[in-house]
Symmetry: C2
Subunit: 261 residues, 2 copies
């Protein structure tokens, strides 16, 4: 009696469901009972139990005394192959490190995944306050400097399709939430040739980003500088930091050009 959208032949339901169970755990809710997992995944309790038992047997989760499940470091294996197999982080990391050190800014590498920007690396300047964003963190692409640098390379049609799917969160009073506004900002990126974000994610924080390309011209990701200093004008950020960022991006691109891709 449930809506029968045949999920397509060759689709393994149990794998999809099991992965959903893993993702039911978040930093907010790191320990979940079977019932809560069922709630979050909208699967039957019996099914969730089976998945959790399976994951436990495979060493991905443990059960505490209270009967709640927690993820174990084994889950890192699932993502680690990706991180360590990518040439991109290998190439970009030293550049981020250098930028962070010499300019006293944070410097990050991000890639687009769906409508999110995912951080693949993050270099922090000496003495930087601790940040909630680390490798693996996600932010909506259209609200980030890195994301807009990438979105600006899309055709209007692609961009519309992207924004259609994307969800908007107002992180600060400066966050652009209207689709029209977001499109305007992205158009500015196209015109100016760089992506500047002014306090749309964190108050007082500006970010400057450029896209990274493979030889084919395909976008590989984006590199970004972030600085917290409420006193500095956005225009000053561009004046002081665009040139070194451009140079780093150019060096990275020329290295990427050597790759088969």
């Amino acid at each position: 009696m449930t809506a029968r959208v045949p999920p397509d032949r060759d689709f393994v339901q149990s794998l999809g469901r099991g992965l959903a169970v893993i993702q039911a755990f978040t930093d907010q809710q790191p320990a979940l009972s079977i019932a809560r997992v069922a709630e979050r995944t909208r699967l039957s309790r019996a099914a969730c139990r089976r998945f959790l038992v399976t994951l436990e047997r495979l060493g991905y989760v443990v059960r505490d005394e209270a009967g709640r499940y927690r993820l174990l470091p084994a889950v890192l294996r699932l993502g680690y192959a990706y991180l360590s197999s990518q040439e991109l982080p290998q190439i970009v990391r030293p550049h981020c490190d250098r930028l962070a050190k010499t300019l006293h800014v944070s410097s990050s590498l991000g890639v687009l995944d769906g409508t999110d920007i995912v951080f693949l690396y993050r270099a922090l300047p000496r003495g930087y306050l601790h940040t909630r964003l680390g490798v693996g963190s996600r932010l909506p692409a259209h609200s980030t400097a890195m994301g807009r640098a990438i979105l600006a390379e899309m055709s209007d049609a692609e961009l519309d399709a992207h924004l259609e799917r994307a969800e908007t969160v107002a992180y600060t009073p400066f966050t652009a939430t209207e689709t029209a506004t977001i499109k305007t900002r992205i158009k500015q990126v196209r015109e100016l040739g760089y992506s500047l974000l002014d306090q749309e994610i964190d108050l007082g924080v500006r970010a400057l980003a450029l896209p990274l390309r493979y030889r084919s011209g395909k976008i590989a990701g984006s590199i970004c500088l972030g600085l917290y200093d409420p006193r500095i004008e956005p225009a000053t950020v561009v004046r002081d930091y665009l040139r070194p960022l451009r140079q780093a991006a150019a060096e990275i691109n020329s290295t990427l050009a050597l790759l088969p891709s």
Copy 2:
């Protein structure tokens, strides 16, 4: 006709198999054809194809022109909840950063997962050469300073059981490969109260590690300093670095004591 080891009621076969497919990808082999995945996982080609189609539809993998699959950043979601939900890295990171900065050494946080030490954080000193070990990397516990710091806390029976399961790789001529030798080294850790590793993983690299504990006394993980300098004597490493490491570990432990765990 295949050996029928009933995998236990309530075990979801397809989830286990699907996760195995994800792990078929490694940094060595980041792009795999269906046939190669089948080879590595020892599953039928038809089954692998179904899993890969499923993963593709869910956005975890893509297929390139040559028909080979690659992982996408979406897989990071599977491990990320773990990393960001753990209090341990949050607490330890600033200490590692500080140690790395002031002592000019690398400083890492690791936890035990099965017979592996998994790096949950890694702080590198300024200008450090780039390293193959990063967050998520694994090394056999019994061959690492961090691992031995943890193994030293086990009972002899537990230790034996651990070494039974563990596999040994000779990374350098200094790597202890005999079980007896490994046990001797671990006993030394117990006697001395610290774990010192001399070039067993990388030539010229010494590491010094201490265990970290929850209030209950249960081991939370291990913190480690690593330094590359062939000229320095192991004894000098202890003389110069044990005290600051001890202090950091003590501070971390007192913070951990505040946690519910």
